[in-house]
């Protein structure tokens, strides 16, 4: 069975798929290089002299926002990894009688938590963060984002840890290492692939998250870049070239992550869903 390659239909379908997915991205990049007069004269024109005007206008807003986003994304990734790796390890390795059942219950709970719509969690979370005195701060947003992605990270890490041969840990314990020592010097190095995959995924998801961003951090100079893009404040409302320039700037870190870790991304995407 070898349909497709030489057939006209196969070629046309592939071309259509490429066009369908690549063109909107190209259109974003093209528009971001249009001048204000070009965009006002004809927002959909194909012929124009590329200029950096839009980027220059946007830079003032974008730069602090990108710094905020970086802080939030790195902070969230750190918190999630610090909590998720030991948790996944504990859940995988707890085979002790009572704990086995509790572990199963916890896993079910984690999976259910993963399903809770984010737009709903944000309503009570606003009150909880107010009580913790971290509403409208970057730390508050980091806590919220970490709680959002932690269940996902644990579920994603589990299979990586399950694949570590338990004999290595047992050998370490027999040699007199403590459980903690075994975790740090045996488990962590062996789970490296999984940890990197989770880092990449959590960083990416946090970078794009905006529901918590616009709701829990509503101080203008604290906005992450995705929140600015989501709110389409007047400066960008119909100034499509500026909006697209901001979109391009928001995309750049994702592009970098993508170029360095495409394999991990596609792995994380499938594992995170099914397992």
């Amino acid at each position: 069975m070898n349909p497709g390659r030489s057939t006209v239909g196969g070629f046309i379908s592939r071309a259509a798929l490429v066009f369908f997915y690549a063109f909107p991205l190209l259109w974003m990049v093209m528009t971001s290089f249009k001048s204000q007069s070009d965009i006002l004269a004809n927002p959909s024109g194909f012929i124009f002299a590329p200029v950096l005007d839009a980027y220059q206008t946007v830079a003032g807003d974008a730069w602090p926002a990108i710094i905020n986003s970086t802080q939030v994304a790195l902070g969230t990734t750190t918190v999630v990894i610090a909590l998720a790796v030991p948790a996944a390890y504990g859940l995988v390795r707890s085979k002790h009688r009572i704990w086995a059942r509790i572990t199963t219950l916890l896993l079910i709970l984690i999976i259910v938590l993963q399903m809770v719509p984010q737009a709903m969690a944000v309503i009570p979370l606003y009150g909880v963060l107010t009580q913790l005195h971290v509403v409208n701060t970057i730390s508050g947003l980091i806590l919220a984002d970490a709680a959002l992605f932690l269940p996902f990270a644990i579920v994603l890490l589990r299979p990586f840890i399950q694949s570590i041969p338990i004999e290595l840990e047992e050998a370490s314990i027999v040699d007199g290492a403590s459980f903690w020592r075994t975790f740090v010097s045996v488990v962590l190095p062996l789970a490296r692939n999984g940890i990197v995959t989770v880092c990449v995924m959590v960083f990416m998801l946090t970078w794009g998250e905006f529901i918590y961003g616009v709701t829990l951090l509503s101080v203008p100079d604290g906005y992450p870049v995705s929140s600015i893009l989501a709110q389409q404040i007047s400066l960008y409302g119909t100034e499509w070239n500026r909006l697209m320039a901001l979109a391009v700037l928001t995309t750049l870190p994702i592009l970098i992550v993508f170029l360095f870790s495409q394999k991990r991304l596609s792995e994380g995407m499938l594992r995170g869903a099914v397992k």
Partner: protein, 318 residues
């Protein structure tokens, strides 16, 4: 969800060793058998208890109280189920439920049909196909805000899509501003963003179909389409079921594209249930009503989630 055989096996070893085993020896017979392992999960459990589970209880409590901005933190009076009665009696909830349903059906059709066809197209390791896959994975990785804004521009009244239609002599359509089209436009964009995931998932399943079966069918004279629909399709049905369930859950959680593309408008014609809940809470500042609608939508998602947990039990290996 039952404890798997590995655990049961462990338990027998456990009891077999227990009599007469001095406590101090306990650790020597295995990492997995010490209750100490569970301590590793405690920080994460505490964290989730405070920032995920506690807020969930608060959400439920809000839905049976009268919560306004003035008493957001506490001091809520119990009002019974009056919020629920109010919600179910308002036409808005049903309109939103209908919009959510339409949105979900469109998304399901796109993910399953286009996903299956495209996955078949890309189910081999050709260079050109790898390139198409790379673009699709990149799109999947893009933040929804970016995707939403690109399409908002394309679907704008004087955007590229209407301009192109104009060249073909077709009158321009108010894609995002008309109550008839808005929800479909949002569904289109959400489909565009989620098809890559569907394709990758189905493609992975197709690659795991044993080649011998396909070859045998080909020798027996089955054509490529027949193989796709009568051999591959039934064999990958578990994956399609999981994809369908994930899509339904995604549909009932849909918020980001609604927010970026239409803000639920015009009016509330494209407000899905999560968006409606959010709007009640943060625009109208009626937190109780928001929490009530959120709870109603969530009950549905959790039911689907339980179905999902059953369907993927084998993969989960609980």
């Amino acid at each position: 969800m039952t404890v798997n055989s590995q655990t049961r096996e462990t338990r027998t070893i456990d009891t077999a060793n227990r009599p007469g085993t001095p406590r101090g020896n306990h650790r020597s017979f295995g990492v997995g058998h010490s209750p100490k392992m569970a301590w590793f999960a405690v920080p994460a459990v505490v964290f989730l208890a405070v920032l995920s589970i506690w807020p969930l209880f608060k959400l439920l409590r809000m839905s049976v109280s009268e919560v306004r901005p003035s008493n957001l933190i506490g001091g809520w009076d119990w009002v019974g189920f009056s919020n629920y009665i109010e919600a179910f009696q308002s036409a808005q909830l049903w309109k939103s439920a209908w919009a959510t349903l339409l949105f979900t059906i469109a998304l399901l059709a796109a993910n399953l049909i286009i996903g299956f066809l495209a996955a078949n197209l890309l189910a081999r390791a050709w260079k050109s196909d790898m390139f198409i896959q790379s673009i699709m994975i990149f799109v999947w990785a893009l933040p929804p805000v970016v995707i939403g804004n690109i399409w908002r521009f394309l679907f704008n009244e004087n955007g590229l899509i209407n301009t192109t239609l104009g060249l073909a002599g077709i009158e321009s359509v108010n894609w995002l501003g008309s109550p008839d089209y808005a929800i479909w436009t949002v569904a289109f964009v959400a489909s565009w963003a989620s098809i890559p995931f569907a394709v990758m998932l189905i493609r992975a399943a197709l690659l795991s179909v044993p080649q011998e079966i396909v070859e045998a069918a080909a020798i027996d004279g089955a054509g490529p389409w027949r193989i796709r629909f009568q051999i591959n399709l039934p064999l990958i049905r578990p994956t399609l079921t999981i994809l369908a369930i994930l899509t339904v859950m995604y549909g009932f959680r849909s918020f980001d594209f609604v927010y970026v593309l239409t803000k639920g408008g015009p009016g509330t014609s494209s407000a899905t249930l999560p968006y409606l809940a959010y709007r009640e809470a943060f625009t109208k500042l009626d937190f109780s009503q928001g929490a009530t609608i959120a709870t109603i939508a969530m009950v549905f998602v959790v039911i689907v989630a339980l179905v999902y947990a059953r369907a993927s039990r084998r993969e989960l290996q609980l």
